[in-house]
């Protein structure tokens, strides 16, 4: 009896929780919805795509599939693309519209379970690029974490491409 009601309560809690994979790009803590993340892998033997959009870092062979690596940093900050000097940068594989993309990240952290209560809308003074791709900002104990709206991010890329 009580177990059942507890279960119901737990379920309710889970429904409201957001699970985010945390990554760090250019020092900024960023959360990616766990439902979109397929895997995490290290990039090696990346083939650059000459003349492509600067956010496209290159193509890699991920277990026999060709995965397009996107540089989130250059999308958000227009920083220079991944330095080829980096030994083997990490990437997070996300699936979007049936295609797998790899997002280059500097560091991969824990998976956090957060409730939307701790979050806020994007402060207005952040750059346009950030505002467009940010779903919300989570106020963690020690710092702020930006939850990325992957759909908006990847779709914008398509637009630029088109």
């Amino acid at each position: 009896m009580s177990a059942e009601s507890r279960m119901r309560r737990d379920t309710a809690a889970i429904v409201h929780e957001i699970q985010l994979v945390t990554v760090r790009i250019d020092g900024q803590l960023i959360g990616l919805p766990i439902t979109a993340v397929r895997d995490v892998f290290s990039i090696h033997a990346m083939t650059p795509v000459p003349r492509a959009d600067q956010a496209v870092a290159g193509l890699v062979n991920l277990r026999g599939h060709i995965v397009t690596i996107l540089d989130l940093g250059s999308l958000l900050n227009s920083r220079a693309s991944v330095k080829s000097g980096d030994a083997e940068p990490m990437a997070v594989g996300v699936e979007w519209q049936g295609e797998v993309f790899g997002l280059v990240v500097d560091e991969i952290g824990d998976v956090l379970s957060l409730s939307p209560d701790t979050s806020d809308a994007m402060p207005a003074n952040l750059g346009q690029a950030w505002a467009r791709f940010t779903r919300r900002v989570h106020k963690l104990e020690r710092e702020l974490m930006i939850e990325i709206d992957l759909h908006a991010l990847l779709e914008t890329m398509t637009l630029q491409a088109a």
Binding site: T47, V49, G64, L70, A124, T158
Partner: protein, 904 residues
């Protein structure tokens, strides 16, 4: 039930195609009882299945057709009108089936016209019977009695078929008047027992067996294959992908084994390699279909055409068994149809003309297919009049495709290629069949899309031959692996004509013409491009591009030959072509990517794309030169902007500056919902209201609704339009005197009046308080001479949350600044020019002066310099909405941050 229906649709469509082809053959050779039996059986199967599935319209039609066919069986003479009638019926059935496929239900409609005609035909030769329709069609179908006898034993051992039998018998009979009512026994007795109708597959087998008994010697050539399994195409495609992966993995393993030299590995690895190769062959085989299956439709088409055009046409097929990847097959069906139509309509002459020219009265179209050196060659040739080279020349010059001088130098083969240019049609008159100028260019583009090549050969007065060369399969292609600037690329073999090494002072060398490299090859000049240049690759030191010692891959794409310079040519490899990411698909220089045996990913170059990008960059350079011209720059600074032209509510063109539109979307009308009288649609996870949406009924429900999406800070607003017409860059001169509610004014584009739509409501928050008191402190003051832009900026900035004032002139601004103390000035530099710069200089020199942002329609280095000199904070394009907002937020936001900083 759905699955059943799907199977039915697929199978029936196949049957109908066969019936089509067979009927045409039958008409020519009415004594072939095997053909007739096949036709009869197929139509009968369709009828039976329809009855079982409860599709009265189809059943009714099929039944009527069957009646007529059964008359042929009884020995009635076969007449052309009767065959035409049956073909018509088949067409109608096809129409219904395709509708059925789409909606899962038989469409409404009435086929009495056809049914009556068929009945009349069925009755035609036997005037003795003249009573009610249902009863008399039976006695006529006497031939079927033979089946009744045959039928018996079968029904006894097939107990499970009882239900089906009953369903069939209960199905409506042939009576056109009361066909909804279940027919009493008499009707089916004659017709039903011919075969036990069953859901898809078994029905065939059954029918075949039975008819086989009755017809005895019937050949198997055309019988619906018995020992086959229907497999979804998707499954095969997946299998193919997996096999491709397996091949790649094997290649990797072999590579490793070669390095390790480990004896234990070798023999199992060899076996694995062997099996993989066989598996690859096997799976490829499953995807192969005889090219003849794309031809079946053509015999019907030719028959119809010969009737329609009054020409006698014979269609000869050879090599129909040549196998080709089914994906490719699908893609060349349309081009083939086009070509056959062209031949029938334009190529072949009328019978009397032919006789006059000393030919046989009937024209011949010959379809030929063969596999040659790793490619499929498919040929459509006719013995008609061929293409008149002189007419092509005249037309090409008239259409501005080339000049007379150039034309003189072209070979006939090259001249013929003009026929495949868009909009080129040599037909003197447009007929119902072809000649609308959309023929051969479509053929060419479709064939080239699948990596094929089209070639024309014309013999004046003796006919035209169109040859299509296709790769065996789309998935695996042979490619040349080359290296340029340290990166490897693949070039598809199909477009490689030859490899050439150039040498300083040699016979083959690269020379510069007007700065562009050309290759002198066997006394011909070919344009040459460097891969590294096209792709902006920085070449490593040491590989100086000036030496004339180079490797050139000479490519032939369509009629164009050109050279691609690479650093080295490594080897050829069978590559598994993978589609390129959606993010890169717009890049025409790549056609895909692949994984090589060593596991590395390489890009596949698209030679035609490479050539095109060379042309483009040459054009761009020319443009850049023009732009360097200062005068041109200043001239361009007149208010030019991009306008989106569309139609909404009326035939008049309307326009909105493109920069104000967030996105263009299309929604399924079914996705647009109605909430409280407002149309909304789910968009990016939120509900977006759609203004101006008019719900449509009937067929329109399935169509797509184009919507302009406007971004607001907290939401999106959609505006429904009828049609998006174009995007044009124009110098806007707005006549505001014509402003009506909802529009700002009108302008003239290409000689047509275009209304400029007032989007202020769309970009302004609903119910926002627009009024700002005269002496309140404001954030932004906009000085803008043009009413059009005033109307646009006000809502834009309010929308962004700023308190603003918009004034029309510098004078007004001077007055207002003191009172309202704006934090930012936005100044229009287009209209007031020098005066505005002076104003800005004055302003910025004062104390506590607000930063000034200049607005220009188009910036240039000189304007920027001038702006800097005047102390402008920033220079922003007039239509650069985001730019303006970020420039303002940079200033205001910056202040706010400083305050925070102080507080912390």
């Amino acid at each position: 039930m759905d699955d059943l229906l799907k199977d039915f649709v697929v199978e029936t469509s196949e049957h109908l195609d066969i019936v089509d082809a067979e009927l045409v053959r039958f008409e020519r050779d009415p004594n072939n009882s095997a053909t007739l039996a096949l036709i009869f059986r197929l139509v009968h199967t369709i009828k039976g299945t329809c009855g079982f599935l409860g599709l009265p319209r189809l059943e009714h039609l099929a039944h009527a057709a069957e009646d007529v066919i059964s008359r042929f069986r009884d020995g009635e003479p076969v007449t052309a009108p009767a065959v035409t009638m049956i073909l018509k019926t088949i067409d109608r059935i096809k129409g219904i089936i395709s509708e059925l496929e789409r909606t899962n239900a038989e469409p409404e409609g009435d086929d009495e016209d056809l049914v009556e005609a068929l009945h009349a035909l069925a009755k035609g030769e036997t005037p003795a019977i003249a009573a009610a329709a249902p009863v008399e069609s039976k006695p006529e179908a006497e031939g079927t009695i033979a089946f009744q006898i045959l039928e018996r034993p079968l029904r006894e051992d097939e107990v499970t078929l009882d239900d089906l039998e009953r369903a069939f018998r209960d199905a409506p009979g042939p009576d056109p008047v009361v066909f909804k009512e279940p027919e009493p026994a008499p009707a089916p007795v004659a017709t039903a027992p011919k075969s036990a109708p069953k859901p898809p597959k078994p029905a065939n087998d059954k029918a075949e067996r039975k008819d086989g008994e009755s017809d005895g010697e019937q050949g198997n050539a055309n019988s619906v294959s018995k020992q086959t399994v229907r497999v979804a195409v998707g499954t095969l495609d997946r299998l193919m992908t997996m096999v491709s992966e397996l091949v790649l993995t094997r290649n990797q393993l072999l590579e490793i084994a070669r390095q390790r030299d480990d004896g234990d590995f070798k023999s199992p690895l060899q076996r694995l390699s062997h099996i993989t190769a066989e598996l690859q062959d096997g799976v490829m085989q499953t995807r192969m279909q005889p090219i003849g299956s794309a031809w079946t439709k053509l015999s019907r088409v030719v028959r119809d055409l010969s009737e329609e055009l009054g020409k006698k046409i014979e269609l000869i097929q050879s090599g129909a068994e040549t196998e080709i990847d089914r994906q490719l097959l699908e893609m060349i069906k349309d081009p083939l149809l086009h070509m056959v139509r062209n031949s029938a309509d334009h190529g072949l002459e009328m019978p009397d003309e032919r006789v006059a020219a000393g030919k046989t009265p009937h024209g011949t179209i010959h379809l030929r297919a063969a596999q040659e050196s790793g490619y499929i060659i498919c040929e459509v040739s006719d013995d008609g009049r061929g293409i008149d080279i002189e007419r092509v020349k005249a037309k090409a010059i008239r259409n501005g495709l080339t000049t007379e001088q150039e034309m003189a130098r072209l070979s006939d083969e090259q001249v013929l290629r003009f026929v495949m240019e868009p909009g080129f049609s040599t037909a003197a008159s447009v007929t119902n069949v072809s000649g609308r100028g959309v023929g051969m260019d479509v053929v060419r583009s479709q064939v080239e899309q699948v990596g094929g090549i089209v070639d024309l050969r014309s013999r004046a007065g003796r006919g035209l031959t169109v040859t299509i060369k296709l790769p065996l399969t789309l998935a695996i292609a042979s490619a040349l692996i080359v290296e340029a600037a340290g990166q490897r690329f693949a070039i598809p073999q199909i477009s490689v004509a030859e490899l050439v090494r150039t040498q300083e002072g040699g016979d083959v060398r690269i020379e510069k013409l007007n700065g562009q490299a050309t290759l002198r090859l066997r006394q011909k000049l070919l344009p040459v491009v460097e891969v590294a240049d096209v792709l902006n690759l920085s070449r490593a030191a040491g590989t100086a591009s000036d030496t004339n010692d180079k490797l050139v891959v000479v490519c032939q794409v369509g009629g164009n030959r050109f050279g691609i310079v690479v650093d080295s040519i490594l080897h050829t490899e069978e590559i598994v072509v993978k589609p390129i990411s959606s993010k890169l698909r717009h890049m025409s220089v790549y056609s895909g990517a692949t994984i090589l045996g060593d596991g590395s990913v390489i890009l596949i170059l698209e030679p035609s794309g490479v050539a095109r990008s060379v042309m483009e960059s040459a054009n761009r350079e020319a443009n850049a030169q023009n732009e360097a011209d200062l005068a041109a720059e200043l001239h361009a600074s007149a208010e030019r902007s991009l306008l989106l032209l569309f139609r909404a509510g009326g035939a008049n063109l309307k326009a909105i500056p493109l920069s104000f539109i967030g996105r263009l979307e299309e929604f399924d009308r079914s996705a647009i919902e109605d909430t409280g009288g407002k149309a909304v649609v789910q968009y990016q996870g939120r509900l977006m209201p759609i203004l101006g949406y008019i719900p449509q009924g009937g067929f329109e429900v399935d169509s797509r609704q184009p919507v302009l999406v406007f971004h607001q800070p907290d939401r999106e607003i959609g505006m429904a339009v009828d049609e998006i017409v174009d995007v044009v860059e124009v110098a806007i001169q707005i006549d505001t005197s014509h402003a009506t509610p909802g529009t700002i004014g009108a302008t003239i584009i290409d000689g047509k009046a275009v209304e400029i739509v007032d989007v202020s409501e769309l970009v302004a928050p609903e119910g926002a308080d627009k009024a700002v008191a005269d002496d309140d402190h404001i954030d932004v003051m906009v000085v803008e001479g043009s009413e059009f832009f005033r109307a646009l900026f006000a809502p834009l900035l309010q929308n962004a949350g700023y308190r603003i004032a918009v004034v029309p002139s510098l004078q007004a601004a001077r007055h207002a600044i003191a009172r309202q103390q704006p934090s930012v000035m936005v100044l229009d530099l287009d209209q007031s020019g020098e005066e505005a710069f002076a104003f800005a200089r004055d302003l910025t020199e004062g104390e506590n002066a607000p930063p000034v942002i200049g607005l220009v329609s188009r910036g240039g280095p000189r304007l920027i310099e001038q702006g800097k000199a005047a102390g402008l904070h920033d220079l922003v394009g007039k239509f650069d909405r985001q730019g303006l907002l970020s420039a303002i937020s940079e200033i205001l936001g910056g202040y706010a941050m400083n305050e925070w900083g102080a507080a912390a």
